[in-house]
Amino acid sequence: MQNMSAIRVMLVDDSPFSRTMLAQVLQERGCEIVGEAESIESLVKTYTECKPDIVTMDLVMPGADGFECSKALLVQDPGAKIIIVSSMMDDDTEAEARRVGVVGYVQKPADIDNLMQVINNALSPDELFQTLVTLGSDIFKESLAQNITRMTKEPVEFTDKDLSKQVKSRGITVVIGIIGRYPGTMILDFSLETANTMTERLLRRPARNQEEATTMAAEFANVVSGMATSMLNKKEKALKLRVAPPSVFFGAPTEIASPNIKMRGFTASSKFGDIDLSIGFKKGSVLWM
């Protein structure tokens, strides 16, 4: 969480009324208003003098608009944390906001709970990421265990898997991309025999061909990742995780690598056979909300 000192906010809005309203609700939540600007002319000077933690930025202003003002501020201080607070909010303005590099976007009239959540996330993004990394593997493990136990009626045992060397596939690898505040990847890997046994349990007859078994593998991975991301989103709304459709790799000796992302792996031992799951997240989404 924030340290105990007040969050220092600078308001940029051409309307004195809007500035007063926003100042009032922010002050009620313990923020300190350290500066105000009504146009690009006074913007950079005020920012440099008051050094705020957060800048709220209106979009529609006479002369330079909020995007141009944001660009000017970010040239001055690339670390400036700007939150657009505007009555105008649609796909185009959100896309432009992302391109410009602001850290958040809240529609006017600003819901103060929402605005404070965006401010807190902007000031402590590392904490949210850390929460995800800490919770993430346990929740994916729990989801995998629940989904196996549902079929086997038996508990699952886990062992950690060493991912320091390149991972060889057991036969079928399902890769699921995760999108959200922090993007990530889940990889589920098991043998064709395991897939056949699971398919037989689900369909109550043997798999007719490899396609049935690999389709089941994709669906199983989809359910595991979907359940885990829902559980994470319930715990931390700001994560907004969603899963992309699975890609399934099989039919030849295969090695898997996830460069540039720290993955954690474990093996679930079940009566279907061993199932490997690895999961990792990284900072830096193409989108920010």
């Binding site: 890769v175 699921i176 994709a218 540039n260």
Partner: protein
Amino acid sequence: MDVNVINPILEAFATILPQIGFQKVEKKSVSLMGSMLVNTGLMINIGVMGPLKGAIVIGMDIDSAKMFASKMMMGMAVTELDSLAQSAIAEMGNMVCANACMAYSQSGINGLDISPPTLVLGKDGQVRLSVPKIIAVSFSVDNIGVDVYVGLYS
């Protein structure tokens, strides 16, 4: 799937590659396929979510991947696809797809996001994407063969 849907990805490919050391990006062929692909050596899988969903997969054979990584690393000799070379290739995939998201946004398709790249090494392996159709585009990049597979649906 409308074939024009791939234009932002082609644009991104042609924009990013010259920025990372390649001079000549030529489009060789475009074809429409079902959901199955064959891995010729290495594949970069990137998941896509938003108004379009699916995966973008970039594939090449292992020798091409080594040449590709070598070019990206300013001509450094790459005799095997070690973690540095893999990282370089994955980053290329990430840059192309992130740039494609921006290009989609400029063409009015907002809110696309991508997952981090996963590399899958396994010659002759089969790949099934969870999409009805895939558009395959073959490129020659400074005479290195690279295939881009776009499996997206709305």
